[in-house]
Structures are given as C-alpha cells and as structure tokens.
Symmetry: C2
C-alpha cells in the first residue's frame, strides 16, 4: 500500500486525453493495493481508480487481469470495470509504467468480519467461480505448489529467524503436500487473495471485490480455503467454526462443492496456509531497513498451518459430512 510513482497534472491531462471520461476534478494518491501506485480520480463523468503497475505485476499478465475484470463485471460481479481508451485498449502507459483506469466502487472493508460477512464472502466467491467459468484467457498460479518449493529454497536457512525449526517444518510440509495434492478437482479462475482488505461492504451488503492481481487458473476449492484462512481465524490462532461454516454454506448456496472437494478441504487449507507463510516469511526477511510499510507477521500463518495439520476431515471446519 503506497504511492510509489508521482503523477503530476500535466501527465494526468495527457493520459486523460486518450479517454472519454472528461476533465479531472480531483486526484489523490491512495494507500491501497499490493505493490502498485493507486490514485483516486474524479472526472466530470464519475469516479475512478488509476493504477500504475510497479514491478511486482508483470505487464504480460495485464490482459488476463483486466480482461477478467471486464468479463466478471459484465456478468454482474461487483468488481471494478476497466475503462477503455479511445483506441479500444484498457492498458495505457504513464510515467514509463503500464497503467489502467477502472471504475470506483463504494463501500468499506471490514477488518474483523462477522459470520454474516463471511457468508456473503463465500457467496461472492462462488459467483466469481461460476461467472469466471467461460473466461477464455489463462494464467498459471505462480504461487502454487511448484512456486512454494522455489520460495522455500530462496528463503533457505533464514526461515529459522522467524520461528525456531521453521525451515524443517516447511520442508516436511512441502514433501507431504507434493505427495498428496489433489489433481482431479474442479478448476477455473480463482481470485487467490480474498483477504478482508479486498472486499467492500456498504450498509452490510457486499458491494465490491477488488485487487485481482493474483488471479489465476487453479483448483476452485483452494480459493475457498484461502478466504477461510483470511477471514475465519481468531487472533490467537483458533478457527472460528461459526464463521467458517457460514462462509462454506454461503459458497455452497451458489456453487455446491463436490464430494472430492469436501474431502480435500484439510489438505487444501494446509497448502493455502503454507503459501502465505512462505510469502510473508520472504517479505519479512527482505524488508528494507526503515521502510514505512511494515510487513505482516508470518507466524500468524504458521499457527494456521498447524491447526490444519491436526484437522481430520471437513467436519473440523464445521461442515456436516
């Protein structure tokens, strides 16, 4: 979350001359998003978010991300709609970076959702999976099983700086997951990062899903347990079964899980926890000295992993099996 690239009114005016959204009325850098520069832009035609893609988002992936938003918004998902330039493309260039303008969504994220919130999140995620079904572009999950092995290698012995024995725990876990990771479950487009920051609510109704920059093709049920990990744990690492049950039943009301998916929930949840344990560990170790943005504590995801390691079946997540 930050504004890394400064855009002045001259550069903005030049950019907007390629669009049909009128002259700017207000323009403010906002603290939102992963590693991009984001501006809240108001013009004579409405409000928008202007994003400049910094190094973590690859330009080659932008047609997938922006095309997906267009696909989903056209089908009624409350996600930002990319605005096209007069030349028909949604991908622009600003300050030597790829850039895009998308519609603004009202609403606010909740930092600690209730079971009503998690039920709504489950429902919206099922909608995303259903509506994404016929999306034609594909993108591999760089943060899938193969990516974890590589990340663990890059972290190496430094893992033990985060928690004693973490390197060994991670290595054993990857071996375990590689051997048993399910292959025949329903696949499709997943959001892959459905944290509370990325969901807006307005008057208790889910009003927005944002930040699709980890979206990819992978197991649909993996997306559900990523969200479950992000929304349904208490501060000390206990699963809130009420929230978990609400999320899964909200999901199933719109897209019933297959028996294979239900059976695989514990192992998928282990993988989902490991993924964020690894990336947070990496970001923690690589943080620049004195940086303003504090990285998130990886140990939160070690606790979640350890919870899932003890789970025997989907019953442990509150499901009636």
């Amino acid at each position: 979350m930050a504004v890394y690239t400064q855009v002045d009114e001259e550069a903005l005016g030049k950019l907007l001359s390629n669009y049909d959204i009128g002259a700017p009325i207000s323009f403010k850098g906002i603290a939102e998003g992963v590693e991009n520069s984001n501006y809240l832009l108001e013009t004579e035609r409405g409000r928008f978010i202007l994003t400049l893609y910094e190094k973590r988002v690859h330009e080659a992936d932008l047609p997938f991300f922006l095309g997906l938003l267009e696909h989903l918004a056209a089908r009624g998902l409350p996600c930002p709609l990319p605005v096209k330039q007069k030349n028909g493309s949604a991908i622009a260039k600003l300050a030597r970076r790829p850039a895009a303008i998308v519609t603004f969504l009202e609403g606010m994220s909740v930092s600690r959702g209730t079971a009503d919130h998690t039920r709504a999140v489950g429902g919206a995620l099922a909608d995303l999976h259903r509506l994404g079904k016929d999306y034609s572009l594909r993108r591999d999950n760089a943060m899938g099983l193969a990516g974890w092995r590589k990340l663990a290698h890059d972290i190496g012995a430094r893992a033990d700086k985060i928690a004693p024995g973490l390197g060994g725990i991670v290595g054993t876990e990857i071996d375990y997951l590689e051997e048993r990771w399910p292959k025949d479950l329903p696949r499709g487009v997943i959001h892959a990062d459905l944290f509370p920051d990325n969901i807006f609510f307005l008057r208790d109704k889910l009003s927005g899903i944002i930040d699709f920059y980890f979206a990819c093709n992978d197991l649909l049920a993996l997306d559900l347990v990523i969200a479950l990990n992000a929304w349904c744990f208490e501060r000390k690492g206990e699963l809130n079964v009420t929230k978990a049950r609400a999320m899964v039943s909200g999901y199933q009301a719109r897209r019933p899980l297959t028996p294979g998916e239900i059976e695989a929930l514990p192992i998928l949840a282990r993988g989902a926890a490991l993924r964020f344990l690894l990336t947070r560990t990496f970001d923690w170790l690589e943080q620049p000295v004195g940086a303003l943005v504090k990285p998130k504590d990886p140990r939160e995801y070690l606790q979640k992993l350890q919870f899932h390691q003890t789970a025997k079946s989907a019953k442990d997540y509150g499901l009636d099996v």
Copy 2:
C-alpha cells in the same frame, strides 16, 4: 505524505457516532499533507478529510489551526471547514491521537504553475491576510528568525555534507538577517507554507487552499515571498520574473503592499529561502535509511538564497518601484 496510523471501520464508526454526518460510504487513506495521517471519507452527507495528527503537529496548536480554518471559511476563503462534533468541539481523539474532520475541496494542485496561476495565488494570499486580520487566537512562528539560529545549531557541521561551505554560508546569512530583519512591517496571520501542493485549481480557477499547519502570526510580506520562492523559480534556479510580477500584482490588487514592505522584499525573500534551506537540510540529514518518502533537495533553496543575495531592490522581482 503518508498514512502512518491505520484506522479500521470499528474505530471509524465509533468516531462518527460523535458527529452528525451520517454513516460512512467510503474511506481511503490518502497521500496528502505534511506529517499527518489523512483519510478521504465519504458519508451519507458528503465528502470529508479525516486527519490524525502525528507528532509534528502539537495538540496545543490545534485550537489555533482549526479555529483559523473556521474563521477563514466563514468569510469566504476556499479552505476546509472543520466539522464539529455533537459536543461542539472540532478536535476529536482517534487511535490515541488528536483528530479532526474537515470538508473536502475539489480541485487539483498544479506542479508547475503559469503566471495565471501565480496571479491567482497572490490574490488568494492577500484574501487570507485581509480575512485573517480579526482572528483572535495567536501563534508564534516557530520557523522564524529565532528558530533558524536553533536549527542551524542542530545541523552543525553536517551542513557541509549537503554542499561544501554550507555551514559557513548559513552562519553568515543568519548574522546578516538578525542585524537587518525588518520589525515595523504589517503583521497578521500567515499561511507560511503556500507551496503548489497546498493550492487546488478547478477549471483554471483557484478552488482550494489547504494545509494550514504552519500558520502563525508574522510579517504578512514574508508569506508573499515564501509563495514567490515556491512558485516563481525555474528548475535551474532562475527567477521567472513574469510569474513573480503576476503573483505580486495579484496580491496588490486585493491588498496593496506598503512602501516599507516593498523595500524589504529582498531581505524577506532571503529569510524565506533560508528557512526552507534549513528545514530541508535538517530533514535530509535525519532521513531514516530506506524510507519510502524521499526528502526534498535542500540545494534548491541554496540557489534561491543566492539569487536573493544579489537582488538590490524589489525591481529585481519585476516590480515597478
């Protein structure tokens, strides 16, 4: 420019229960302001800026700053209007910090203004000086002559890391200014930081003046040369006389300078340049390693100081004397 303190929806809801501005619709941290945390807040009643005051703004000064905004906005200056809580006070508490909600202003800052812009800035500054005349609270200028001596002392020999001989230049300049600094010129409330960031334009009309957190009582003409230094120099340190003349004549159209003020412009401009040379030097030397916010280059103000040292009279700023 940053968001130093995170505010979640729970804390925001609790804060808003003290106001009469309805429920929140949108809430985003924005990159604006000096050293405070700022949020753009939309509620059912409109748009606002929520500011949390971090350590650089002293709580004891808030009644002066917020009272001044109220005083000036009531008299028609396009500045933010503080919103009062149900208890009548505009000063709230949030995340253990003093906080305030003010009205949102449309418009955008221009990074390189034209002579039309500087004329408008001069006019608005004269308005501010006229309208501030009967404001009852007072605040000394911590960044005045006495403050410069102290700052130069705190910087000490490290000044020469910025430019060779800078320590000596600064010492000699402070001696010079202390001996000749004018005492009998018109005084009143000044903005004291009227940089392009702090002025908004909408459809080429000046639509907003923000960031009053250096406002204080001092020589009115000092405020004009602070703005002149900030708006009327070219990148390589040459004064743009057209912009300077436009700014001063825009000012004089609403508040004519006295002969004493006109005569004092060169020395005031030296002091104004020295003030930012010193604070930028200090911030440059004190920057945390790896910080995301790059401090501004102090040498820009050394060039400006050196220009003013060669000025003989107000003629050198384009005035017909």
